[in-house]
Amino acid sequence: MVHGICVAIMVSCAWILAQNLLMHIRPSENRFKVMLWGYLLSIPFVFAAYRWLPPLSAGIASSMQDENPFLGLFHAYLLHLLLFFCYVECFYHVERSVTLRMLLELRREGERGVPLFVLQERYSVKDMIQQRLEVMRDRGLVEQQNGLWRLQRKGKALAWGAMVGAWLFRAKHQHERA
């Protein structure tokens, strides 16, 4: 099992790093598609690494003697999948987080600081919403007709998913917060 975990971590780190380096050479608009391809292409490497990479320590090697090799491989693939989900979540948090944007704005100002209204002007709620609506339109989640925004089928499915998720985790959406 430990060998499987090590393999999943190593393969995941390798494809995530390679994918990010590729984004510097050839940036892509649809990052999710690139992440998904990165994950899918790395799948055979999990098997190869599990089969042919030597265990990291003698202790791991000896524990592998008693374990079912299929169970070890199953753990490798399961963690590989979970790390993919974790990476996607981290990516969108880094890309879209308003809090991180605020911290970066404050970092740029250094010790002298900045008044709140300046921070709000630099990245206003209006710009934030406008920008997000345009991104969602480009991704086929919403459409604009006669000045009104409407959900597309994909957007509706995602909105339902978000509502169920919020209900399950007793979370509030941004527009519902006080």
Partner: protein, 82 residues
């Protein structure tokens, strides 16, 4: 995601940009984006408010978090985002 849910919950499932922006405004003139984040970041020790100049700046903890965010954005080749 919040915008999608707001559209789903709206009558007729359609809203103008202005109506969507209004959903994020509070009656006291502040908004639902910044109003809870600033006190939350302050309480958790990421930012501090100068009582003399009324300006916000990063604490040491905030600088570390901002540096990690900066490096992550550079690694992922992302813009300012948010």
């Amino acid at each position: 995601m919040s915008l999608l849910v707001a559209l789903l919950q709206s009558p007729g499932q359609a809203l103008s940009t202005k109506a969507l922006i209004n959903l994020f405004q509070l009656p006291d003139g502040s908004d639902r984006i910044y109003s809870w984040r600033i006190p939350d970041l302050e309480r958790r020790g990421y930012i501090r408010k100068s009582p003399d100049t009324n300006t916000y700046s990063l604490t040491a903890k905030g600088r570390r978090a901002a540096l990690v965010a900066f490096l992550a954005k550079r690694l992922m080749n992302l813009g300012e985002g948010g």
